[in-house]
C-alpha cells in the first residue's frame, strides 16, 4: 500500500494544494472516489466556479453539483458525495450562525460592503473553503472530507485567510468609527472623520457609509468569528488531516510547489504525498546517433525528443521528491488518464494507489 492509499483509509481530512492548471480538482475527485471504493463515506468539495468537478464526474450542466453535498451514485463499498463551494452562500450561513438576531443578520446580508466581502474580498474563497471543510468534517454523514483549494500563488493564503479576514472584521480602526452600542452608525472621532473624508475622496462617500454601516451591524459578532477561525485552524493542523500536493513536472510549477512545501512547513504542516500529473513516459536511453540521416531519422528524432522530456522532468522533480519516501510520490502518466467521466476518474484512482492488492479492480 502506498502512502496515498494509507491516507485514504486512515485520515479524516485531505487537503489538495497546488498551483492552477495542474489537475488538482480532478485529482481530488479521484482520491475521493478511491476512498469510497475502500469503504469510506467521503465528501469531496471544490472551490472552482468553473464547474470542473461536475466535468470531472461526467455530470452535465443541469445536474451540476451545488453548495450542499449530493450523493454520486457509484459502485463502492462506501459512499461518494460531492459539493461545490459557493463562497457567498457559505459566508451568509456563517453570518446567520453568529448574528444574535435575524434582524441583525438581515442588516448585514443586505449591506453592499458585506456583499463585496462575501463575493470578492481577497481570501474570501480560501476562508470559505476552510469553513466548508470544517462544516463537512462535523457532518456525521462523512468520515472523510477531501477538499480542493483555490488556485493560489501562495500556499499560505488559505491557512491565513480565516485569521486575516477575522482580523479585518475585528479591526481597531473600525471600533472608533461606530458607537459602542453597535446601534446607529455614527462617527465619534474628529480625526477619524477627516481621515474618512479623504478615503471618501478616493472611493466615494456612499461606499464609506456602507462600510460604517456594516461595521456597526457586525459589532459584537467578532468573538464568534474569532473562535470559529481558531477551530478551523486547529482542524488543519490536526493529526488526522493530511495535505496532498498536486503538481506537473514543469520547472516553474515545481519551483512553486517547492515554495508551497516550505511555507506549509513553516506553519507546522507537512505534505504527506505528492501527485505529479502529466508525467511523460520514458522510452529508455538508446542513443542511435549514427542513424540520424537514414530513413529511421524521424523515429530517432522522436525517441530523442521523448528522452529529452523524460530527463528534464526527472531532473526538475528530483529536488521536490527527494525529500519524501518513495511511496509518497505518485506519478500519473500523460495521455493515459484523460478524465471526462466517472470511468476516467476510476482509471486515475487506480494510478493514484497502485498496489499489489487488487481490492476492487
Amino acid at each position: 500500500m502506498n502512502s496515498v492509499a494509507a491516507l485514504l483509509e486512515e485520515q479524516s481530512v485531505i487537503v489538495c494544494v497546488g498551483a492552477g492548471g495542474v489537475g488538482k480538482t480532478t485529482t481530488a475527485a479521484a482520491l475521493a472516489l478511491e476512498a469510497a471504493q475502500r469503504g469510506r463515506r467521503v465528501c469531496v468539495v471544490t472551490i472552482d466556479p468553473a464547474r470542473r468537478l461536475s466535468d470531472a464526474m461526467g455530470f452535465d450542466t443541469d445536474r451540476a453539483i451545488g453548495n450542499a453535498p449530493q450523493q454520486i451514485h457509484v459502485e463502492a463499498k462506501g459512499e461518494l458525495w460531492a459539493a461545490m463551494l459557493d463562497t457567498s452562500t457559505t459566508f451568509d450561513a456563517l453570518i446567520r450562525t453568529y448574528a444574535p438576531s435575524d434582524e441583525q443578520a438581515q442588516n448585514i446580508l443586505t449591506n453592499d460592503f458585506y456583499r463585496n466581502i462575501a463575493n470578492s474580498m481577497s481570501g474570501a474563497h480560501e476562508y470559505m473553503a476552510m469553513e466548508k471543510l470544517y462544516e463537512l468534517h462535523n457532518d456525521a454523514r462523512f468520515d472523510l472530507v477531501v477538499v480542493d483549494t483555490p488556485p493560489t500563488n501562495n500556499a499560505i493564503d488559505f491557512l491565513e485567510a480565516p485569521d486575516r479576514i477575522t482580523q479585518f472584521l475585528d479591526h481597531r480602526l473600525y471600533k472608533i468609527l461606530v458607537t459602542p452600542s453597535g446601534g446607529l452608525a455614527r462617527v465619534v472621532n474628529f480625526a477619524a472623520q477627516s481621515f474618512l473624508r479623504t478615503v471618501a475622496r478616493i472611493v466615494s462617500a456612499s461606499v464609506v457609509d456602507d462600510a460604517i454601516e456594516f461595521f456597526a451591524a457586525f459589532d459584537g459578532m467578532e468573538e464568534g468569528f474569532r473562535g470559529r477561525a481558531v477551530a478551523v485552524h486547529d482542524l488543519l493542523i490536526a493529526e488526522d488531516t493530511s495535505f496532498v500536493l498536486v503538481t506537473v513536472p514543469r520547472s516553474d510549477t515545481v519551483h512553486d510547489a517547492a515554495a508551497f512545501i516550505e511555507t506549509l512547513g513553516a506553519a507546522d504542516i507537512e505534505v504527506d504525498a505528492i501527485v505529479v500529473n502529466r508525467v511523460h513516459p520514458s522510452f529508455g536511453s538508446s542513443h542511435l546517433d549514427g542513424l540520424d540521416n537514414g530513413p529511421l531519422a524521424p523515429f530517432i528524432t522522436v525517441l530523442h525528443d521523448s528522452q529529452t522530456v523524460a530527463a528534464g522532468q526527472d531532473a526538475v522533480l528530483a529536488s521536490l521528491t527527494d525529500e519524501l519516501p518513495a511511496g509518497a510520490v505518485v506519478k500519473i502518466p500523460f495521455l493515459d488518464t484523460d478524465v471526462h467521466d466517472l470511468d476516467g476518474l476510476a482509471v486515475l484512482a487506480q494510478w493514484l494507489t497502485p498496489s499489489e492488492d487488487t481490492h476492487h479492480h
Partner: protein, 323 residues
C-alpha cells in the same frame, strides 16, 4: 500577414490564458517577435517569478524597467524592455499622483487600505490597468505586452473598471475607470491575445473566456495562440519493420521497442491535439497561431528564439484580415 502589421495593429497586447498553458512564455515570445519586427516593446508582468527572466537570461523583473533583449543587429531589431507593475505599487502611485501621498502610510498602517479595497473591489486591478494605460498614453514603447492574470481571473481583471464605474459614482477612481474602459474598447489601442493548449479543458476554458471578454467587456480579440503542439515528422507513419530490414546498422530488440513505443506515443499525442485544434476551430471563430511544444525542461534564450521563429511563421501564415 506580416508580423509588423499584426503588432502595429494596437499599442497594448493583453496576453491571457489558463494556468499552465504557457501564457508567460508566450508573452515573452510575442515581445521578442515584435522587437524582431522592429517595434520597441515593453513587457509588463504583475507578479514576480515566472519564466521570463530565464527566457531572456536576464535578472528577475522588478518595478524598475530593465532591458531584456537589446536591439540592433543586422536585422535592425528593436529593444525588449520589461518591468513589474504590482497592485500595491499601482495603488501607492495613484495616491501620490492624486496628492494623497500624506495619507498613504496611514492608510496602510491602520489597515484602512483593506477597507478601501473591499469597499471598491477590483480597485487594485483597475489601478494596474491604469498604469498600463499611462504607459500607453505616454508611448513609452511601440508595443506594450501585458502578461495578464490566469484566465478566469482575466475576465474579472478586465471587468474591474466596469464594476467600479458603477460602484463609486463620480471622483478620481471613476475617471480612471473611464480612461481604462476607453482604452479597452478601442481596438487600435488594445486587444487581447488568448493562449491555450490543444487539450480538452484548456480549449473549453479559452472558448468560455473569449466569449466573456467579447460580450462582457467588449475588448477586441486577436488570433488565439495554440501552444505546445507536437509535429509528426515525415516518415514517422512508415512501417518500422520494413525500415529496419532495409537498414544496415545493427539494432537491438530494445532499441527497436523504444523506437516503436516513442513513435506510437507521438502519433497518439499529435492525433489527440489535432482533435482539440479542430474542436477549437469549430467553437471559436478566431484565427489560430500554432506554436510548438518545447522539449527542454528549462527553456532559455535559444528556445525563445525558436519559439519566436515559429510565432513569426504562424503570423505569416495568417490571412490579411485576421489581425
Amino acid at each position: 500577414m506580416d508580423p509588423a502589421r499584426l503588432f502595429a495593429a494596437s499599442r497594448v497586447l493583453i496576453v491571457a490564458g489558463k494556468g499552465g498553458v504557457g501564457k508567460s512564455t508566450m508573452s515573452a515570445t510575442l515581445a521578442r517577435t515584435a522587437a524582431r519586427a522592429g517595434l520597441s516593446t515593453l513587457l509588463v508582468r504583475l507578479t514576480p517569478g515566472g519564466p521570463i527572466s530565464r527566457l531572456f537570461a536576464a535578472p528577475e523583473l522588478t518595478g524598475v524597467e530593465q532591458t531584456l533583449h537589446a536591439g540592433g543587429g543586422p536585422n535592425g531589431d528593436a529593444d525588449v524592455r520589461g518591468r513589474l507593475v504590482t497592485p500595491d505599487e499601482a495603488l501607492a502611485e495613484y495616491l501620490t499622483d492624486h496628492g494623497l501621498a500624506r495619507i498613504t502610510r496611514r492608510l496602510v498602517s491602520t489597515g484602512a487600505i483593506d477597507v478601501v479595497t473591499t469597499a471598491a473591489p477590483g480597485i487594485r486591478d483597475l489601478l494596474v490597468l491604469g498604469r498600463v494605460k499611462a504607459f500607453e498614453t505616454a508611448k513609452v514603447a511601440d508595443l506594450i505586452v501585458l502578461d495578464a492574470p490566469a484566465a478566469g481571473h482575466a475576465v474579472a481583471f478586465l471587468q474591474s473598471p466596469t464594476g467600479l464605474r458603477d460602484a463609486v459614482g463620480a471622483g478620481p477612481i471613476a475617471t480612471q475607470a473611464d480612461d481604462v474602459l476607453e482604452m479597452l474598447a478601442d481596438p487600435e489601442r488594445c486587444r487581447v491575445m488568448l493562449v491555450t493548449l490543444a487539450e480538452e479543458t484548456p480549449v473549453n476554458e479559452v472558448v468560455e473566456t473569449a466569449f466573456a471578454l467579447e460580450d462582457e467587456i467588449g475588448v477586441a480579440l486577436g488570433p488565439v495562440i495554440v501552444n505546445g503542439l507536437v509535429d509528426v515528422p515525415d516518415g514517422l507513419n512508415g512501417d518500422l519493420d520494413t525500415l529496419i530490414a532495409a537498414n544496415t546498422a545493427k539494432l537491438s530488440a530494445t532499441d527497436i521497442a523504444e523506437l516503436r513505443d516513442a513513435a506510437a506515443f507521438r502519433l497518439r499525442w499529435a492525433a489527440r491535439q489535432q482533435e482539440q485544434v479542430a474542436r477549437l476551430s469549430d467553437r471559436l471563430p478566431l484565427a489560430q497561431i500554432h506554436t510548438p511544444y518545447v522539449f527542454t525542461a528549462e527553456p532559455g534564450p535559444a528556445e525563445l528564439e525558436s519559439l519566436s521563429n515559429a510565432l513569426s511563421a504562424g503570423i505569416n501564415a495568417l490571412s490579411e484580415d485576421d489581425a
